[in-house]
């Protein structure tokens, strides 16, 4: 049998079956479609403008390593005119994050980008190791998730960037669409398929890999021989999300387009106006100044619970009331440092819901 030709260029020998379309293509065409689709995502959403300072949320894992590589490639190829930075968060997980940060430091050399590392310890006075030793493994992902999101925003502010890009891929988004529907989380359902949302101080956050399959990201890293760190976090994720992940993988096995089909579904609907009206409006946290839907932002609430030895306070309504009943917060509570944006926000329009 003669070698099978690439379905895209009809010249080179096909060496892989593309997970997203099932087409058999050659290596060069794979790089080209992968990068061009990300470029399409960026230009269609008009994510950047020349001169933007953009931080890449870098964990050392496959998604953010490939993201850094592709952002650098596209920035040069299409002359986006972006100034790129690497921003890493050190959660303080021994045997996991300390190793992956070594990868990020190598990436800094390889890609020649400035790197900023911000630690939970520095911001919150707690490492994840310390948090887990106090609260156990059960809800620790809640803490880590809230803390990381805020840490990224604060780190970005200290770098004076306009924009953070993260390595969330199509699988992550499809899974989140399903999760938000099953949990009835309307506010997040409306937001989760948006390519770009606005965080703290109008720093934009976006997901250029929104339509990139996890399998293709791994393939890209493999064929480009990119240096990444691949170990699962030692503190395990929650069971409910685990179910959704397994389900999504089953769907993908049944019909590979399922991932993109779910994202398409998520983009075709929006929260009804009358439902939006009943949702909480955003305010700023009275303690640290971060945007929040309550008087205290999630991170400050979690932190207060930790400091007062009542870690469940921000996890359930009931525990929060119990905390309030215990009296006001002590005077000497830690305030999470607030980094001021250096230049006036470029987009001061209303915050997203």
């Amino acid at each position: 049998m003669p070698p099978r030709l690439c379905a895209l260029c009809n010249e080179a020998r096909a060496i892989l079956k593309r997970p997203k379309t099932g087409q058999q293509i050659c290596k060069e065409c794979f790089f080209w479609v992968f990068e061009t689709e990300v470029h399409n995502t960026i230009t269609e959403a008009e994510l950047f403008k020349p001169g933007d300072r953009v931080a890449i949320g870098a964990s050392g894992g496959k998604d953010s390593t490939v993201l850094a590589h592709v952002m650098k490639t596209l920035n040069e190829r299409y002359q986006y005119g972006l100034e790129l930075f690497l921003l890493s968060i050190d959660e303080g997980i021994t045997g996991y994050r300390d190793d992956s940060l070594e990868t990020v430091k190598r990436n800094q050399q390889q890609y020649d980008m400035p790197l900023k590392i911000l630690s939970y310890n520095e911001l919150y006075g707690w490492t994840m190791d310390a948090i887990v030793s106090q609260i156990g493994k059960k809800n620790n992902c809640t803490f880590c998730g809230v803390f990381r999101r805020q840490a990224l925003d604060r780190g970005a502010a200290s770098l004076h960037v306009d924009h953070i890009v993260t390595g969330h891929n199509a699988d992550d988004i499809a899974e989140t669409v399903l999760m938000n529907i099953m949990r009835g989380d309307i506010a997040r359902l409306g937001r989760c398929t948006l390519i770009c949302t606005q965080g703290e101080d109008t720093i934009k956050r976006s997901k250029p890999f929104k339509y990139a399959y996890e399998k293709e990201i791994v393939m890209y890293a493999y064929f480009k021989k990119l240096d990444y760190f691949s170990t699962e976090c030692i503190y395990s994720p929650d069971a409910y999300r685990g179910h959704a992940r397994v389900f999504l993988k089953d769907l993908e096995a049944a019909r590979p387009s399922a991932i993109i089909d779910i994202i398409h579904s998520g983009e075709t609907f929006e929260v009804k106006e009358e439902v939006k009206a009943t949702q909480k409006t955003q305010q700023t946290c009275k303690r640290c100044g971060y945007m929040s839907s309550n008087e205290l932002c999630k991170a400050c609430t979690l932190l207060e619970g930790l400091e007062r030895g009542m870690a469940a306070a921000a996890v359930t309504e009931r525990a929060r009331k119990k905390l309030d009943a215990e009296g006001p917060a002590p005077e000497n509570l830690r305030t999470i440092p607030f980094y001021q944006q250096a230049h006036p926000p470029t987009n001061a329009a209303g915050l997203p819901i």
């Binding site: 895209l8 379309t21 099932g22 080209w32 061009t36 689709e37 399409n40 269609e44 964990s59 894992g61 496959k62 998604d63 953010s64 809800n139 880590c144 998730g145 809230v146 993260t166 390595g167 988004i173 899974e175 669409v177 399903l178 529907i181 099953m182 009835g184 989380d185 309307i186 997040r188 989760c192 699962e232 976090c233 994720p237 929650d238 409910y240 999300r241 179910h243 389900f247 089953d250 769907l251 096995a253 049944a254 019909r255 590979p256 387009s257 399922a258 089909d261 779910i262 398409h264 579904s265 998520g266 983009e267 075709t268 609907f269 929006e270 929260v271 009804k272 999630k298 996890v315 359930t316």
Partner: protein, 494 residues
Amino acid sequence: MSCGNPTVEGESIMPRRKKYDKTRYCVRCKEAEGNIVIRHAVYCKDCFSPLITHKFRKGLEPSINRKPDLSRRTALKPDGNLLVGVSGGLGSTVLLDLLHRCYVSMDESTMPSDGGRQHPRHERVWKKVTVCYVEMCDAFPGMRDRTSDVERRVAQYAGLDFVPLRIQDAFDPEWCRKVHASRKESSFSVDMTTEELRLSAIASSSASTPLQALHGYMSSLPTATAVPTTVQTLVRLLLLHTAVQSGSSHLVLGTSLTSLAVSLISGISQGRGYNLKEEVQEEWVPDDSDEPCPPGSGSKQGGARARKPYVRVIRPLRDIGRKECALWAWWRGLNVVGKEQQPWSGAKQDIGILTREFITGLEKDYPSTVSAIVRTCSKVEPKGRAGGLCALCARPIQDGVQEWKSRISIRSRDGSQREPSPTSATLTPRLCYGCHTTLTSRSSRPAPSLGLPSSDRSTVPLPLWVGSGVPRSRLSEQQMKDAVSEFLLEGDTS
């Protein structure tokens, strides 16, 4: 960020609750010991019946009058008759039973207690109630024909008409003429090997039998998921056309809360997010709506006034879980005809079945999951403009679907979409995202064989209703004249 759990943002935990709250006593009468737990709430057997009939009426009555009416004192005056779609399964068995008790035999115990006997809701609502069953055994070899079982089951209730159909009626010109599903004499076939789905007209001389057409269509579907999805769409359209033909303004289906949650998630997973609304409730106006009403449709209801035919599809069990349905059937001694589908080789590759297993497993540990799914989906609405109705499933198409597809997944190197030549008609622009995906999206493995005799032609016949609206390849002289008339100079009208 890759932490293995990347999108956790707060309330990631889903605490497992005890199966029932507080006590074993019924939450309604607070006297009797409970017999059933419904999503954490305990009910006794005596309170269970009125609870179910109440939920059933609440799921149906506000949609009976043309204008949605929430007042409980208005008389119920539907625009036409009622069609009940049954499969012989649990949901439709319970639906038929409730419907007969409440609206045909007028069982007093199901009536609202307030307002006394003069309450307008005590009058008979529908003049004619028809039950329609679509036998699908010809699409799955080895499946038993259950038409007579279902017919016997329906015959146990007095006062119902029974219409048995077969799935291949969708390809039967005889049936189409009878229900006015298509005015076109010609039918079309499609080439399923390409993304554009090229169409060609079938000459009536070379037409195959409806059964051959069904087999050709089914066996050329690319994935296991496409098979049951296609069957469902065929059944839905057969029911809709039957509703119009029987002069019915309402079609009711036995979709329970649990099955609704499954079909919502399964629909989302197949790219049908734009049609979530229709999955819950829809109103369908036949394509040829300028046609006179078929005989018997509504015109007798309010004098000679002919109504424009429309069919409102309602799922009155949408607030009643599968568990409550099973218990209703058990306590009422109802025999469920349908049995679990024979496992075919494609089951593990079928998104519908995967979703059902996933939701069923989740419901066991987290009983509120199904109602959360349905509630969430009721809080969203389709975004953007609709560009007509899908030729296959007759639901709204979102504008710009094909552009989206080609931008997100590049399939050719020249960048631009290959424009199909204007002379060859294609099906793709007339399909919704979900139906296009059903016909074109492939799996890395070939679709499991249905074991049906497949056609040796490269193109397969389409359901006949797809015919209406396809542009004719040859315009009549008059049509051509009309099309160019504004460019013609005066006097040049020879």
